[in-house]
């Protein structure tokens, strides 16, 4: 008898849940997995623009952004804004896109700002980030290269477990130097962390 009562209660709860269904023409009907998958096809610009659509969107809209390639064709608006307010944008990018693993800003027109950009990237560094590709020309090579090594080394020794800090037997700073030297001929700085 007691059991039967319990079962009855369960049935009532199930029925109530069913009747709380969202309208069929509302995107709210989709659970987090499906919603996240749909939003994964948004451009980065649309993600920033639509973060405040709903709490579900805010929770899911940045999680699938794994790379940032700043070119005019991919993100024209952000590309232009980067000349004006790169600090805010890079901070927002690293702060909100928690799974960002790759940053590429290879346009030579950003050359003058590379040092400060690296400062900001190092300052906001988070673990999934494992490759940064930036332009460098010969004259900027020495200060920016050393600056980069210093910045990354300081940040990374805190954040990356020691096992990951060694690659092919080199300590991290030597390894970064090694990587930088390999890239020097192409006047492009690409560091795989």
């Amino acid at each position: 008898m007691h059991n039967r009562c319990l079962k009855y209660k369960t049935d009532v709860i199930l029925t109530q849940e069913m009747s709380q269904n969202y309208p069929k023409d509302s995107l709210d009907r989709f659970g987090d997995d499906m919603c996240e998958h749909i939003l994964s096809y948004l451009t980065l610009e649309d993600r920033f623009r639509c973060e405040c659509v709903s709490k579900q969107w805010r929770r899911l809209i940045y999680t699938t952004q794994t790379d940032f390639m700043c070119t005019y064709s991919q993100t024209p608006f952000i590309y232009c804004k980067l000349f004006v307010d790169y600090e805010r944008i890079i901070r927002a990018l690293l702060h909100k896109c928690v799974n960002l693993s790759y940053i590429e800003i290879r346009d030579q027109r950003f050359n003058e700002r590379i040092g400060s950009m690296l400062d900001i990237i190092a300052d906001c560094f988070h673990n999934p980030l494992n490759e940064i590709s930036l332009p460098l020309n010969g004259s900027q090579w020495e200060p920016s290269g050393d600056h980069m090594i210093q910045l990354l080394d300081e940040r990374l020794t805190e954040q990356i477990p020691s096992a990951m800090r060694k690659t092919s037997g080199l300590p991290l700073n030597q390894w970064i130097k090694h990587q930088l030297n390999r890239q020097y001929a192409n006047v492009k700085l690409s560091v795989k962390l």
Binding site: D25, L27, D28, F30, T43, C52, V53, K55, I89
Partner: protein, 189 residues
Amino acid sequence: MADNADHIDGDDNEDVRAQQNLIKIKLKSSEGGIYECGLTAAKMSDLVKNMVESLGTDAVVTTEPIILGNEAVTDAALKKIIEWVEFHWDDPPVDHDFEDEKDRRNEELSHWDKQFIDVDDQALLFDVIAAANYMDIKGLVEVGAKHICSKIRGKSCQEVREMLKITNDFTAEEEDAIHKENAWIYAKD
């Protein structure tokens, strides 16, 4: 028996795929409607593919309808899905783990897919996407997702909410705070 099973599994060969698509199987919607679909086309659904392969023989496959019990699989949605798989069954296979995944994600929809997915009835659109997800047809889920994202492009939060009928569950203060954080993306110059 063994011959039949081999026959159904032999997907690699284009001729076999074409021949198999002449075999019609029956799919039953959650509303009870029964629709015919070519076997190769129907097997673009991983759910159907697994069901068919567990049945084993053509004889059973062609007589008994495969029941798709999810409520998103309405008659209208199932008809759309069959239209899509019957058009796409001979596409080259896609490896979702492959390196060019990123390129494919950024690729625009084909003209046919655009026309196919651009339906006025949003409940039907969402049913098709949910049903394709239930039936595990990755390509069609992707078409639906890309279509929605292309409609979102450049729109404001409020416009997106109205279009997709999303309830704003933020307080005015919360919304204002996010707006301020992202103020730079709304600035026009």
